[in-house]
Symmetry: C2
Subunit: 155 residues, 2 copies
DNA sequence: TAGGATCGACAACGTGGTTGTCCAAACCGT
DNA sequence: ACGGTTTGGACAACCACGTTGTCGATCCTA
């Protein structure tokens, strides 16, 4: 006499709602700590740039988008002061995209906040259920990394 | 001696990857069954329209987007042959958006596919772990429904 | 050194959002 | 029954993010 299983269409909704909950809480907290203008897509892009910097093309490859799209995102990040372009001394074609101190700060903060958010889940669910959730998801998702072309992918 | 917990930033990635996996598999299957042009956002919009139809404004409210945005999405859905606009006999201002037989077919198919996808997860994880994942997520996400303005939200 | 690959810029376009404006129709309080 | 307010939908302008295609400059390699 177990309850009937929920309909299949609820699973993607729950996963998305969980994702969105975390991202919304992240950006709420980021906004409260001096980063009100950064959007979810910017966080992924800065992650792709990394602390050592990267070329536009490399950023595009890491995000799974064209280098043109990566270039535009870098432009906006630069306008917000999170990123700067410097000439690559080893390749006159290439410009290195580097995080500014502000960009590094936002990345550091985001890591802290994600840690706190996971800790919240542990409080609500218990450490075991959170680990179980993570391990279940690791089982069902393909090994390959996921492109982060969310807006284009979805719409 | 439990393993160290994964970093907090992995949780949103896993949730998103799970969501994306399901949606990608859905649309792969949909494409193989005569619906190659429908995009994720269209499925959510058709869900919002529902089998009984709805006005543009109502669709916008259900999706959590402006009525203008809802109108544009309905336009594209209409161009693809999934919905039609008919005059609302009870309100001369309003036009009722209704699913065409093709639209209804895609909705019925999507429900079947989501059911099969969940069954796949049950095969991989066991019924109990899938139920546990669903119940964990229900615990941590806010009760309120989630807007489906994904592209605009993310970018 | 010549040919091919790669880097980044520019342009044009599609799609999904937003605001603001507008008019016609519906609703509601006097 | 009328007049003010709310609502439905269309139109326009704009922004963000993605796509292709093109191009000159630079690098690598046969």
């Amino acid at each position: 006499m177990p309850d009937v299983d929920p309909p299949g269409w609820e699973l993607p909704l729950l996963l998305f709602a969980g994702f969105r909950t975390l991202i919304d809480q992240l950006h709420e907290s980021l906004a409260a700590h001096g980063h009100p203008d950064v959007r979810p897509v910017h966080g992924f892009a800065m992650q792709a740039i990394g602390v050592h910097g990267a070329s536009i093309s490399e950023v595009g490859r890491r995000l799974g988008v064209s280098k043109q799209a990566a270039g535009k995102t870098v432009d906006r990040l630069a306008a917000l002061g999170y990123v700067e372009r410097v000439d690559d001394p080893r390749d006159a074609r290439s410009k290195l995209v580097r995080l500014t101190p502000r960009g590094l700060d936002s990345l550091r903060l985001a890591a802290e906040i994600f840690e706190a958010l996971r800790a919240d889940w542990v409080v609500q669910l218990g450490a075991e259920r959170v680990r179980s959730l993570e391990s279940s998801l690791r089982t069902v998702i393909p090994a390959a990394g996921y492109p982060v072309d969310v807006p284009g992918w979805f719409g």
